[in-house]
């Protein structure tokens, strides 16, 4: 049986990044797309509990069915797995995202929220992001990388309860130096909310900010992306700081 691949994203079902990923995935298996019907960037692993969800059939063709949903990327994964996939998928993919999901940005990312949701459901899951926000971004430069990673993961299953976060530098394919496994860098967003005043004198704030990542370690995604490598960070949906279980033990009573 051909592999079954569920695909979602956070930029919405009409995204060129999603379409590019679908085209590549079709080379490897049967594809089901369940993606948000809107831009859901920045929604993290949100789920929709306060209203019901709707699903729209976008198209059904040979080897690929495309649906949109009015929920979050994590909602889309739940919906796809539970109601629209004929069986547990062999892979769940999310992306290709417009813009970086390196470093701490993954904590906000709807792309990665979908990956974590799939991982919690026992699926092999991979998020793909291209470091380019331009609507005309060249996704062709991602093709070789994505083919390699899909082939590798289909042949070598990921460790239990572990997913992959893949970031691709904004470079022509021939200038990408290779693929490196690494850790996420630590960073911060500074000056995150810009204050403005509306026409009748009341304040409001826009989310903005400056990404600050000084001297990222050489084994981190930010460093390796700047050096021209594709980065692959193994991620886990368990936030326990295992190395500090002993450190804080004195809080016990």
């Amino acid at each position: 049986m051909k592999p079954l691949i569920l695909i979602t994203n956070d930029d919405g079902v009409t995204s060129r990044g999603l379409q590019h990923l679908v085209a590549i995935a079709q080379e490897y298996g049967e594809v089901v797309v369940m993606a948000p019907d809107h831009n859901a960037s920045g929604v993290s692993t949100s789920i929709t509990c306060t209203r019901p969800l709707r699903v729209n059939t976008v198209s059904q063709g040979e080897g690929v069915s495309i649906y949109s949903c009015d929920g979050t990327p994590a909602d889309c994964v739940k919906m796809g797995l539970e109601h629209f996939c004929p069986r547990q998928p062999d892979l769940v993919l999310s992306g290709i995202n417009y813009g970086s999901n390196a470093s701490i940005n993954i904590i906000y990312s709807g792309t990665i929220g979908a990956v974590l949701e799939a991982c919690l459901n026992g699926c092999q899951a991979i998020g793909f992001s291209l470091l380019n926000h331009n609507p005309a971004a060249d996704f062709d430069a991602c093709t070789h990388t994505i083919r390699h990673i899909l082939e590798h993961v289909l042949a070598n299953p990921l460790p239990d309860f572990t997913a992959l976060n893949v970031n691709i530098p904004r470079l022509p394919a021939e200038q990408i130096k290779g693929i490196r496994v690494c850790r996420q860098a630590r960073a911060a967003w500074k000056d995150g909310l810009e204050k403005r005043t509306d026409p009748i004198g009341r304040p409001y704030w826009w989310m903005t900010g400056k990404f600050v990542c000084e001297n990222p370690p050489i084994d981190s995604d930010e460093h390796l992306l700047a050096e021209g490598y594709v980065t692959v960070v193994p991620i886990r949906p368990d936030l326990t700081a295992l190395h500090h279980l002993e450190t804080i033990k004195s809080i016990e009573i």
Copy 2:
């Protein structure tokens, strides 16, 4: 100078759980509240990028200023830190949440989203949750636990880039056996989306599901909560599966 304590939650500024936490925090310092003006449960570490944010002054009294914001808990932390706290707070607290944030539930939790946001900003941050969804929940049983934890953290700063996730069992104070540091349990939500049909025959789905956590390890939050302990899980906003960096190294090219 008295400690400065920023408080938020995901149940909204009018929540009794928030009010209880504010009352305790006032014993230890000056309090600024910046909480959602609505119920923001399940929004994870979402941030609001597609519209501006507004802030409403709820009350300003001796040692406590209360504001609401139309954003997410993570937005509230950014807003509080950047525009409404007179200086970097000594503590950022989130809660008291109605219902468990143990195990994998923290991945969806707005309460914990706020804690992670504060941690990313270099603050000491603690999330508090009571295992009780009842609107009439008895938060008095949490008082002793919260006092102990606040006093401990004010006297013993948390490790760098580490926050605390505290869950309190639904028990009278005298039946709580103690406080235990532990790891989060692995679990799953099964049958997450219930399909219904609207009056004109179209399908829609409600988020629901059954929490499944079979035989949680004895050093996990789910086990210890069931045994009657308060659980304290040190958490970190870095998702790297450090123990699998070598495992997946063969993906490199």
